[in-house]
Symmetry: C2
Subunit: 282 residues, 2 copies
């Protein structure tokens, strides 16, 4: 018997999250769509789904900090990453003409990423929704001929919408990194990247020393992100990604060294890099 994994995503079917899930798990999957990220994480922790797929960073709008917070709170493990290229489309109810459109609906981040499109067509009113694909679902189900939605082409296919214009984003270097998360730690054979989170008591030079444990061992960082610690104003948790497998001696030495300085350290996952649009170390 083949075991088809169930994957929780935020947003309706046909979303960028579903596209990412298909890339991350190649082959058959069941999608469980949730309205809120909180629910996505909760289902995974409760083992009601095998995995969840969440966006963690966009190359234009930056990190999705809420998901960093949720990942730590629920102690989930990063199993894999993928950098999905985001191509926004103007999607309509089939048969609508461009002249009829008065309102364009989508997720606020997608609307922001198409600012030049809205400057070109000032007659269009923007309207925020909680989801890109959900917007397509809504206009097609309601047959709203004076509305269009902005979403990926999968959403148009899923709900029978028509793509009127494609690539309407301001900047085509638009990628979103998604994580495949699980309750259990799974490390692929070729895992080459590690994500950690740590904090330290604020003392002069502490952050420099923390980064030193990597730099002094020629371990390249690819990302650093700070988040506030609740109840300790102006103190931070640091999320760090670096190139290295936690089973290598050099990496273990670096993490042991970091434990000498940090007051808290957790490995979030060790996984294969998406090398189609890779980062350069820093």
């Amino acid at each position: 018997m083949i075991n088809i994994p169930t994957v929780a995503i935020q947003g309706e079917r046909g979303s960028y999250g579903e596209e990412a899930a298909a890339l991350l798990l190649k082959g058959n999957i069941h999608i469980h769509s949730c309205e809120h990220f909180k629910e996505v994480f909760q289902l995974t922790v409760n083992k009601e789904v095998h995995y969840c797929v969440v966006p963690i960073e966009n190359s234009l709008s930056g990190s999705i900090h809420k998901n960093y917070d949720l990942m730590l709170r629920h102690r989930l493990n990063i199993v894999r990453e993928t950098n999905l290229q985001i191509k926004h489309n103007l999607i309509i109810v089939p048969g609508t003409s461009f002249k009829e459109i008065k309102t364009v609906i989508s997720h606020p981040v997608a609307l922001d990423q198409c600012e030049k499109f809205f400057e070109r067509f000032p007659q269009l009113t923007k309207r925020s929704a909680y989801d890109t694909s959900g917007s397509v679902k809504w206009i097609t189900e309601q047959k709203l001929q004076d509305h269009a939605a902005i979403a990926g082409k999968q959403a148009a296919e899923y709900y029978g919408g028509e793509i009127l214009m494609t690539g309407i984003e301001d900047n085509e270097e638009n990628f979103t990194r998604f994580f495949l998360l699980s309750c259990d730690r799974e490390i692929d054979k070729d895992a080459g990247k590690t994500s950690i989170v740590f904090s330290f008591r604020n003392t002069p030079g502490a952050l420099f020393k923390c980064l030193g444990v990597f730099a002094l061992r020629d371990l390249d960082l690819t990302k650093i992100e700070s988040r506030p610690i609740h109840g300790r104003p102006w103190e931070y948790l640091f999320y760090l990604d670096f190139i290295g497998n936690i089973e290598e001696e050099k990496t273990q030495n670096a993490l042991n060294h970091l434990k000498e300085i940090a007051e808290f350290l957790e490995v979030l996952g060790c996984y294969s890099r998406d090398t189609t649009h890779p980062e350069k170390g820093m």
Copy 2:
């Protein structure tokens, strides 16, 4: 003739932004309230107002990244900072009883910060608005007896709302740092903190070297924040705050050293620290 400065803020009169502006400029000010931050920055750049006051970081929800992006895009200078303690109140139309309230309206961040309050009273529906004080204005003007708003006490005073409950936030260690921004560089005599932004070509160890210019001179960092560079996926701008006056030799040496490594470096301001709720160096 006394020159009363005009200060642009986002949100309606009586907001936390107005409270911060009063703290930052002690004495008489004219408030110019704007719907969006974009407009706040634009008015300041065009010198239609003397200053603007914007929130840059909250000790619970983290940085307001949009304002980091806008500050750089408009090349404004940080003149002063203040850490405002946020005390959320449940505000009603006078004469309303708690039992009548069905909907509570406020800015989404304020609603999120009162999660335990909503768990205690599950009969209440949350509704997002673009502004805390604007929510009070709306319920009092419309005399909505089945609504309450969450906002600061200034908003209740300004619009004649009644405070029914006070301190309804989950975590009382709730501070928002506001910046006073100007077109012109103004450096107070006792300025002890400097904010910069820089980027570098990603090469192994580059960030460690950048932090080294401070650590090797015993200059304490108080904050580091990364933001994506548009058009260069997975490369970042770094915003850094450190304890030091740019007119001191040690600080100048550090910044000259940083120029050797960075491909871009800008000083955003040198200003007095708010020492009522100060950060510890790291």
